[in-house]
Amino acid sequence: MTLATVLIAAAALIGIGVYGALSQQSFVMLMMGLELMLNGVLLAAIGFWSFGMGGAPEGQLLAIVAMAVMAVEMAIGFALVVAVYRRRQAETTESLVTLRR
């Protein structure tokens, strides 16, 4: 268990997240991809903290910031999904294409 391995694991999570974000049609599934990316960030932040920062608390704080981002984005995201679904009956990116060009 070294910093590199931890980071590679995080990279794997980020990669999977990117795949999900780009490939999912449904907003919710897409957001899961984003969550997964942030999951990787959490792991990377703690990895850095644990192996590279001499335990400086900024590393943990970084993870908390990432968590806050995750929470905030998900909360507002779900609210938007609700609003969009209510007004447009749309739940995939393809069904929301009035604004274009």
């Binding site: 590199a4 999977i16 703690i46 900024e58 909360a75 009035t98």
Partner: protein
Amino acid sequence: MELKDLAFLALAAAAAWTGWRVFRTDSMVRASFALMLSFIAVGAIMLLLAAPYIGIATVFMMAVEMMVMALFMVMFMMNPAGLNPMRMVHQNGLAAAAGAGTFAALTAAILLSDLPADPVDPARPVIHDLGIELLGKSMLIFETAGITLLATMVGAVILSSRSGRYGPADDGALPPPLTPGGRPAGGLPEDGP
């Protein structure tokens, strides 16, 4: 190889695998549970990495969040229980390439870079440190995060809550009409692209 390493490898593999499963199931509920498992695995790794507070916070937070998400599916989505097989993807190849590319690029960069080596002292009171940091040096960040959460709550309520104090909250949420009594300007979906 120590036990710790083995545990890390197993947990990392579990996190990745469950993460992958998120996009390979037919049901959103299952997907959200898979995501939760991935988070729990990461939380466990954090514990291994001597970050108990963050790890546990992650586990709890994600558990709650995924519950909400699952509930959400049930409430709103068309395939609540995952009873019918469904898979909704687009540009799958490109997305896979992008994911793989991201992973490859990050991995290569990790392997090619000089990574810092300054491990945390096991004796260090890490949770105490975090508390001091949060309310001391990084208080402004913490405060900003607090405001952000407040704003998020307000925003989420505004956007999702259907009923207001004065009846249906969305009714008047429209641009003013171009001429009184008319329709607001702008092309609508039903007008076609």
